[in-house]
Amino acid sequence: MLEKILVLLCLPSALAQHLCTPGASDGYKVRLSIKTALGDQAYVWNENEMFLFRATLAFAMRTHFNGQMYNVSNIVVCDETPRVSFWFVVTSPLDTSTLVDRKDVEEAVRKSRNRINSAFLLTDKTLEFIGIAPTLAAPVYPDPPPWLIVFGVVMGAVGAGIIILLVTSVLQKKRKKNEKSEGEDDEEDTRVKTVENGTASDGVYNMSFSDDERFTKM
């Protein structure tokens, strides 16, 4: 009697086990790279971790199909390797001999990918579902683009520099003109004085009379 009950209990799982084969059309291969991700703090992959995986996947299926009661027994795993990779299939909770369609499994995994990853302290790259491409994080493009801001700052500074330099040279020229006109009044007085005193001062060497091409054209 007891043996019959045992056989009956083991039958569903035994029946379901044959549904999981490497390369199954409704199954996916999973590959974990724990040591690559965690280095020294890597945990050992054992039966408990596998149980957690099956539980997490059941959670994902439940979340996606709201209402259907998926259980750990609905996630069937096979072909485990030392690499830490294996195949899994998902059986329907209503009928354990039929498999849930590939696309539904994919959607469920995609939806809860983040939760599955964080259960194992892994990322999209280190917990791979072969065939389910991870949605990549889009690079953030801030608006307005930062380079325009820097460009604006630089052009503003340069423009201000040009204006300041032009204004100071114009002011300098005006100041020189005023000084010259004042200086000319003084010079006239001194010139009169020197003529009166009878002394002549040396002239200043005037460059404006030396021209560049002082040769005579033949």
């Binding site: 830490v84 949605t135 690079p139 380079w147 040769f215 054209k217």
Partner: protein
């Protein structure tokens, strides 16, 4: 006794020693002056040390035998660079004119040398400032984290990267597509890429503001632009030496290969590099020296500047190769890790069964046991030497290799900003000499009115140059830049340099030149200078010029394009130039080189016509 061509009227065209002493004492004349000696030295150092020291010399050094390349470099620096440098310094200081004025004073037939210098400076300045514009673009984009070239953009449905980026790399894509939006050939202009237009505007405006009062403003700017690169290089050296793989880069750079010294191309490349490194024949050095006091010791200046240039080249090469070594090591490590992961996945082995140390042994074992699986996996071969010699010159070094290395360093935006500010300073300080070599001759040739203030001259020159350089803002701009770089900046400079030496030694007269130096400095130049000026330096320049022309004429003219549709993508494809490019090359290289003899001939025919006219009319 010496060979000197007849040169009547020379005494009338140049100021005599008494004139010079009087001008010095009374400080008369409206010629600008340096505020102090340091400004002059810094301006010359900034002019000579340019972007080429960072991205051309290290490549030449490494590809021509590493440490052994320093031997031809130093020899040619002393025999070719230094004499020409002193020649330009002394003639500018003695005759106190810009480049056109100096050659016109020596002989009116030689004005062509000054005109050629001006044309070459103009053509080089146009494309050089485009490089500055690209540097500015990268600098503006460095103020964000993560850096925009660290990651490829996503494709439309968000599942993968843009295919062009996926096939090449994020840094390649950012340079060729985002920055330049380059078309696939020089013929295909594709319109104007407006971010580059904005950067060109920024570049020319910065040049305008720095040079707006001539050396009055640029002399202040060089305190920053000439000194900052050294500081940044020191920072990069310290950072670089702490990175993994830096020493393998330095070893790669300096490992001597003495066999390379036997090849003539090594010596030719060394000679050409010395010539371009010193920015000789641009006309800027003559102009800068003419603002010096008459008794400035230009001999000492020439020796100091040569030493500084040589040492800076080696210094920059060391820094560059620490970063290159780091990048190559990173790529090598990730290549090995990828291969290990591929093997583990294919053979379902536990994760730490293959590590970097036993990779080779494990690979051989697996290859011998199941070679067909290995073949199907298509494992890449990781070779550190290949990675070290990848794309390490020119724009490829700065915008691809270095930017990639910077993304791997922690705190990348800061390093990126520092690097591009350094390149900017190096470029701007070279452009000061360049603009000097364009504006002063334009004034001397009366193409710009003498009465205009310096501000107007600078403004007009920069505005016109900006409009012309919009040629490089097209989608095919990079191919135009390469064209200008190869042809406008090579043969004409060598020709002008050769003519300069012949002019001073054989037309001005080496005896007169020696006396001038004795007057200015206090002692006659030694036998070393005599021999190099008269024979060795002109001979070296002539040999380089002839060899260069011979090799150029023999090769088919091709250029490298970024073509996503080509088979070799992501490697640049080599494509022949269209046939009309020959006319353009003649314009770029031929017109400046031929300006010297053509001008002399025109002048001679003009004079003979006048003589004939006068003879006829006086007879009557």
């Amino acid at each position: 006794m010496r060979l000197v061509l007849p040169n009547p009227g020379l005494e009338d065209r140049i100021p005599s020693y008494e004139d010079l002493d009087r001008m010095e004492k009374e400080e008369a004349g409206d010629r600008p002056k340096w505020d102090n000696k340091a400004q002059y030295i810094l301006t010359c150092v900034g002019f000579c040390i340019g972007i080429g020291n960072v991205w051309r010399f290290p490549y030449l050094c490494q590809s021509h035998g590493g440490g052994a390349f320093l031997i031809p470099y130093v020899i040619l620096l002393v025999l070719e660079g230094m004499p020409l440098l002193l020649l330009e310094f002394a003639i500018g200081q003695r005759l106190r004119k810009g480049s056109v004025g100096v050659w016109r004073a020596i002989s009116p037939y030689l004005t062509g040398v000054g005109v050629a210098s001006m044309l070459v400076s103009l053509l080089i300045g146009l494309y050089y400032n485009t490089l500055i514009a690209w540097i500015l673009w990268y600098l503006f984009n460095s103020f964000q984290s993560p850096l925009p070239w660290a990651q490829c953009p996503l494709n439309d449905n968000g599942t993968g990267f843009v295919p062009e980026c996926q096939r090449s790399s994020a840094v390649d894509y950012y340079f060729y597509r985002v920055t330049l939006n380059s078309s696939a050939s020089i013929v295909d202009s594709g319109g104007i890429h407006w971010p580059i237009v904005l950067c060109l505007l920024a570049a020319w405006t910065v040049m305008c503001v720095c040079y707006i009062r001539g050396i009055g403003t640029s002399g202040k700017a060089v305190y920053v632009t000439a000194i900052l690169p050294y500081i940044v290089l020191a920072i990069f050296l310290i950072r670089g030496l702490t990175l993994k793989g830096a020493l393998s880069g330095i070893k790669f750079l300096f490992t001597p290969d003495v066999d390379e010294l036997m090849k003539p191309t090594t010596w030719l490349d060394a000679g050409a590099q010395v010539f371009y490194a010193f920015s000789l024949a641009w006309g800027g050095l003559i102009s800068f020296s003419s603002y010096n006091p008459v008794h400035n010791n230009c001999m000492q200046d020439a020796v100091i500047l040569s030493a500084i240039t040589g040492l800076t080249s080696i210094y920059a090469a060391t820094v560059t190769y620490t970063i290159i070594g780091f990048r190559a090591t990173e790529k090598y490590d990730s290549c090995i890790s990828d291969n290990i992961m591929t093997l583990l996945n294919a053979f379902e082995l536990p994760e730490d069964s293959i590590s970097t140390s036993n990779y080779d042994a494990a690979f051989n074992h697996l290859n011998s046991s199941s070679p067909d699986i290995i073949l199907a996996l298509d494992i890449k071969i990781c070779d550190l030497q290949t990675l070290l010699s990848e794309g390490v010159e020119g724009t490829g070094l700065a915008f691809i290799v270095f930017t990639e290395a910077i993304t791997q360093m922690p705190g990348s935006p800061a390093w990126s900003v520092l690097f591009f500010i350094m390149l900017l300073c190096l470029g701007i300080s070279t452009l000061f000499g360049n603009i000097e070599g364009v504006v002063v001759p334009l004034k001397d040739l009366n193409m710009l009115p003498q009465k205009w203030p310096q501000e107007a001259l600078t403004g007009v020159t920069c505005a016109v140059a900006f409009v012309i350089s919009l040629l490089f803002a097209q989608h095919s701009g990079i191919y135009w830049v390469t064209l200008f770089d190869n042809f406008a900046g090579s043969v004409p400079l060598l020709t002008i340099g050769f003519f300069e030496m012949i002019a001073v030694v054989y037309i001005y007269g080496i005896d007169r030149f020696n006396e001038d130096l004795e007057f200015m400095v206090g002692y006659k130049p030694s036998i070393f200078w005599q021999v190099t000026w008269r024979f060795i330096s002109p001979l070296i320049v002539l040999v380089i010029l002839v060899f260069y022309l011979v090799t150029q004429v023999q090769e088919e003219l091709t250029y490298l394009v970024w073509d996503p549709n080509s088979e070799e993508f992501p490697t640049l494809a080599s494509v022949p130039y269209p046939s009309w490019i020959n006319a353009l090359i003649f314009l770029l290289a031929g017109v400046p080189s031929l300006a010297v003899p053509v001008y002399a001939l025109c002048r001679m025919s003009q004079n003979s016509n006048i003589i004939a006219y006068k003879v006829i009319h006086f007879r009557v």
